[in-house]
């Protein structure tokens, strides 16, 4: 009766609805392709998450990344995938009585980790603080006068490598996670650049690559690792990784070596004879924003 009222049968209408839905779903499924740009290779597009890569696949990825660095920056670099060492868990401590605020650590980080030169990026911010206060909101990073200034102390802040990391919890694609040695890392090729982690971090420790990093060829540090200082792509988040390309090989982080006053102490917290353990056991250490429950692996202390 009603089938021919408008000249379209119900069957035809349903077919139309089904076809529209199907086409829409298909288009949505292919939507990531619309973000395809000239510098995105098929291999890169199809690359799996860091923790799903087989060793062979990882070698291919590293080779590709090295070739891309050569193509884009004209430098031969060696990118490794360095795994955590069993029995090693890192911790860092910083003596606020000794730190003079010279910012050499921030500079060393900038050079070591192939940061974008125009933006002067670094994983470390040094806060100039009023003596008697630990209010980070009142810390000034832009100070430009001889240091240490009277009445001030200086507090370098970088990733605290929390054991309960808010940045990891909020990541919608699990592009950032905590490694067994305590370092919170980012798979720069999996990050979608949503910057949730940057917003979640109470220590302002994450940085976003607004642009493709610009670094003169002669300044590029050629010793690189997949999870640390390889040159990051545009549009991804990065952070301090305790220089894992150095520290997982037994070396000290670049910021510690640059410190002219010896304010920084780094080591394996599982080793009872390590320097970091001595500090944790003999100094009155504290962590930043303890009340948030982030459980940092970065400790601060004053001399008595």
């Amino acid at each position: 009766m009603s089938e021919l009222e408008n000249g379209i049968s119900r069957r035809t209408a349903l077919k139309g609805v089904g076809a529209t839905l199907g086409a829409a779903a298909f288009a949505r499924a292919l939507a990531p392709l619309t973000e395809w740009t000239a510098d995105l290779s098929v291999d890169q597009f199809l690359q799996k998450h860091y923790r799903e890569l087989t060793p062979e696949a990882m070698q291919q990825v590293l080779g590709r990344l090295e070739a891309e660095t050569k193509r884009d920056y004209g430098v031969d670099v060696e990118i490794e995938d360095i795994k955590p060492t069993p029995g090693v868990a890192f911790a860092y401590a910083l003596n606020l009585s000794i730190c003079i605020g010279c910012r050499k650590c921030a500079e060393a980080c900038h050079k070591e980790n192939n940061h974008d030169r125009p933006s002067q990026n670094s994983y470390i911010r040094v806060l100039e603080m009023e003596q008697g206060s630990l209010d980070m909101e009142r810390g000034d990073t832009m100070y430009d006068h001889p240091v240490p200034a009277p009445g001030k102390f200086y507090m370098p802040v970088q990733c605290q490598q929390c054991d309960n990391p808010p940045c990891v919890h909020v990541c919608p694609v699990e592009a950032t996670w905590k490694e067994p040695d305590g370092i919170v890392v980012v798979d720069y090729n999996w990050c979608i650049g949503c910057r949730y982690c940057e917003a979640a971090c109470p220590y302002h420790a994450r940085r976003f690559n607004w642009q493709k990093p610009e670094i003169p060829a002669e300044e590029i540090n050629p010793i690189q690792a997949y999870l640390s200082n390889r040159i990051r792509p545009q549009g991804v988040v990065e952070k301090c990784h305790f220089c894992l390309h150095r520290t997982r090989q037994g070396r000290l982080p670049a910021c510690l070596e640059a410190c002219p006053t010896g304010a920084r102490v780094f080591g394996n917290v599982l080793d009872p004879a390590s320097e970091i353990r001595w500090v944790l056991e003999h100094k009155r250490v504290f962590v930043l924003k303890e009340e948030l429950g982030t459980r940092p692996r970065f400790f601060y202390f004053f001399d008595e």
Binding site: G101, H145, E174, D181, G262, P272
Partner: protein
């Protein structure tokens, strides 16, 4: 009517399915069962750090003192022991001693750009020297520009008139300039203790001595012994911050 409802049901089911398929796109990665939590602190043997003056040796290119284990800060030269905790380290820790310690700066540099200093005994050879100055402001002819801000010390607190190329411990014993850390540690105990345990003075190289060596500063690398307070410096690497540059936070 029944058919209409059936059709609506089918269409909404299709839509739901589509939504579900979209939602499932970001794949989940299996989490580590235990992402390396901090172990509860164990009772440590950290206090007992080695000190072995006897193991020290001047390297022949001058200016570096190498020793296994930990530095000999604040401990007389005859006390030497290496606790078991340090035995497993296979690479040495080198204690840097700058070449200008115990010399007078000539202002010249050798072909490698290194300091050329004159040992004190080059000039201080006369046996009939005038009496030892008590304070630098008593110096009328030589070392007149020496600025001094180190408490109530006198020259003879650390220097010896009879042996100009040696230092003097509080108990009168002589000490090589290269061992200056022992001298400083007589008064600066907490700093010496922190240094001995790796939390003062800075270092370079390896945190893991099983995998590589380490270099450490000595006191006089950072502190001028006559004016030991760390001097003010201009900070480097002025940051560029998109937000803070405009000082919107104030």
């Amino acid at each position: 009517m029944g058919r209409k409802r059936f059709v609506i049901l089918i269409v909404s089911l299709l839509g739901l399915l589509g939504l579900l398929a979209l939602a499932a796109r970001p794949r989940k990665i299996a989490r580590d069962s235990n992402p390396g939590e901090l172990e509860p602190a164990q009772v440590a043997a950290g206090e007992a750090r080695g000190l072995s003056l006897s193991e020290r040796a001047m390297s022949d290119h001058g200016g570096e003192v190498a020793a296994h284990g930990a530095p000999a800060v604040g401990v007389p030269a005859d006390a030497a022991s290496v606790p078991a905790a340090m035995d497993r380290s296979s690479f040495p820790t080198t204690y840097h001693v700058s070449r200008d310690v115990g010399t007078l700066d000539t202002g010249m540099r050798d072909i490698n750009g290194r300091h050329i200093g004159v040992p004190c005994s080059t000039c201080h050879v006369q046996h009939a020297e005038p009496p030892f100055a008590e304070r630098p402001d008593q110096l009328k002819e030589f070392h007149t520009g020496l600025r001094f801000a180190h408490g109530d010390q006198t020259c003879s607190t650390c220097h010896v008139q009879e042996e100009r190329d040696k230092l003097r411990l509080a108990d009168g014993r002589r000490l090589e300039f290269a061992e200056v850390m022992t001298l400083c540690a007589q008064c600066h105990g907490p700093q010496a203790r922190d240094y001995r345990n790796g939390s003062h003075g800075g270092m370079n190289g390896y945190w893991d001595l099983k995998r590589g060596p380490r270099t450490r500063n000595s006191c006089t690398d950072c502190h001028n012994p006559h004016m030991p307070a760390y001097p003010q410096v201009m900070p480097v690497f002025q940051p560029k911050d998109r937000f803070l540059e405009s000082k919107v936070h104030e």
